[in-house]
Subunit: 210 residues, 2 copies
C-alpha cells in the first residue's frame, strides 16, 4: 500500500498514535474504541477514524480496535519494522543527549558510530559508541550500512558536513544545527530546531497574557 | 495588535522568518524583497506576503522589506522583547544539552536554575547554573520570577512535576519527556518529542524507497 498524498498533519500524528498504542500494550490493554482513544489523546474520535481511513481504516470491528494489530500496522507505515542505523556527527552535549536517550533503540533506531573533529574526544565513549575521528567518516560509511546521519554540529559546520554525507550516499539527515540545509530534493531532512520551539512557546505566552 | 485566529502553520513559520532575518542582519543586509526572501527560505513569495499580511504586512515599500524593522516586529510578535527566565528540572544529558546551547540566550531565554532529585548532582555546575535540590524548588519559584519550566525528566516523573509547576504558578512548560502532560487548558505546553521526529524521518525514508 502506498500513501502518497497523505497530508503532513496526518503523518505528524502517526508517531503520536504509535506512542499511545505502545503505552496501551504496556498496560495490557487489548482493545480500544476510537472514543476511548480520543479521550486519552485529546483528538476527536472522528479525527482518529478519518486519519486511520487513509490507511484502510485498520478494521475497527465490534468493540473498537485491536491494539496490538493497530500498533504493528502503524509501525509498518512508519517504517519501524527494520532497524535504522544512525551515525552522529559532532560529539557535544546534544550528541550525548540523543546517544543516551533510552527510547530510540526501542523504536529500532541504533546509533552505530559517533564522529568528531576534536582529537581529544577520540576514543572516548558516549552511549554505546566510541568517538571516532571525522577522518574515518568516509571509510566507515563505505564499509557499513548507514541510513541516517544525525548532525549535532555548530551552524557553521553543518552545511559542509551535510553535503559530504549526501556525496557519500547518506540521504537522510536528522539535523540539530540551527540552520536549514540546502540539499537536493531527494535528500530527506528532519530538523529539530530547539530555539524555534522556545520561540513558539514565547509567542503563546504573549498571546495568553494579552 | 492581537493576533487571535492566526493559524498554527503561520505561527510555526514565524520563528523561521525571525532566524533568517537575524542572519540577514548579521550579514549586513538592510533590505530584502519577498522574492529574494522566498528564494532563500524556499517558501513562495506569495506565501510570505500572505503570512505577513496577518500582521499588517510590515510595510513593504519600493524595494522590499526593511530587514531590521521586520526582525524587530516579528520579535515583538513572538514576545522576544523581554527576557524569559527558564528553570530546568532534571539535570541529565538533555538538560546539559539545552543549558549549554548558545542560541537561546541570544533570543532572550535565560536559564536561571537547575533542579534534580539526585543529591550527588547538587552543587555541580551545568552551563551557568548550579544544580539545586528539588526540595528547594518551591521556595525558589516563590522568591524568583520563573516564566518557563523545562522538563528534562523521565516519562514516569514528568506528569507529577508538571502538575507541581502549575500548582506553584508556572504556567508554561517546555516538555522533553516522551509523554503528553494532561494539564489545565490555560497551561501552555510546548513538546519536543525526539522519538516522534525520528519516526517521521523513518516514514519519509520508507515512502521514498517505495
Amino acid at each position: 500500500m502506498t500513501h502518497k498524498g497523505i497530508s503532513r498533519a496526518v503523518i505528524k500524528r502517526l508517531p503520536r498514535y504509535y506512542r499511545y498504542l505502545g503505552e496501551l500494550m504496556e498496560n495490557g490493554i487489548d482493545r480500544i474504541s476510537s472514543m476511548e482513544l480520543s479521550e486519552r489523546m485529546k483528538v476527536t474520535a472522528s479525527q482518529i477514524r478519518q486519519d486511520f481511513n487513509n490507511f484502510g481504516g485498520f478494521g475497527q470491528q465490534g468493540y473498537g480496535y485491536n491494539v496490538e494489530y493497530l500498533y504493528k500496522e502503524i509501525g509498518l507505515i512508519l517504517g519501524l519494522e527494520h532497524t535504522h542505523n544512525v551515525i552522529i556527527i559532532g560529539a557535544g552535549n546534544v550528541c550525548r543527549a540523543i546517544a543516551n536517550y533510552p527510547d530510540f533503540k526501542k523504536r529500532g533506531f541504533v546509533f552505530t558510530a559517533i564522529f568528531d573533529n576534536d582529537p581529544s574526544l577520540e576514543g572516548t565513549t558516549i552511549g554505546n559508541c566510541v568517538v571516532r575521528s571525522v577522518d574515518d567518516l568516509e571509510d566507515y560509511i563505505k564499509e557499513n550500512d548507514v541510513e541516517i546521519a544525525a548532525l549535532t554540529l555548530p551552524k557553521s559546520a553543518a552545511p559542509t558536513v551535510a553535503a559530504k554525507m549526501v556525496a557519500l550516499g547518506v540521504n537522510a539527515i536528522w539535523n540539530f544545527a540551527p540552520t536549514d540545509l540546502n540539499l537536493p530534493d531527494d535528500v530527506i531532512v528532519e530538523n529539530v530546531h530547539l530555539a524555534e520551539s522556545l520561540m513558539r512557546l514565547s509567542y503563546r505566552i504573549k498571546e495568553k497574557n494579552k
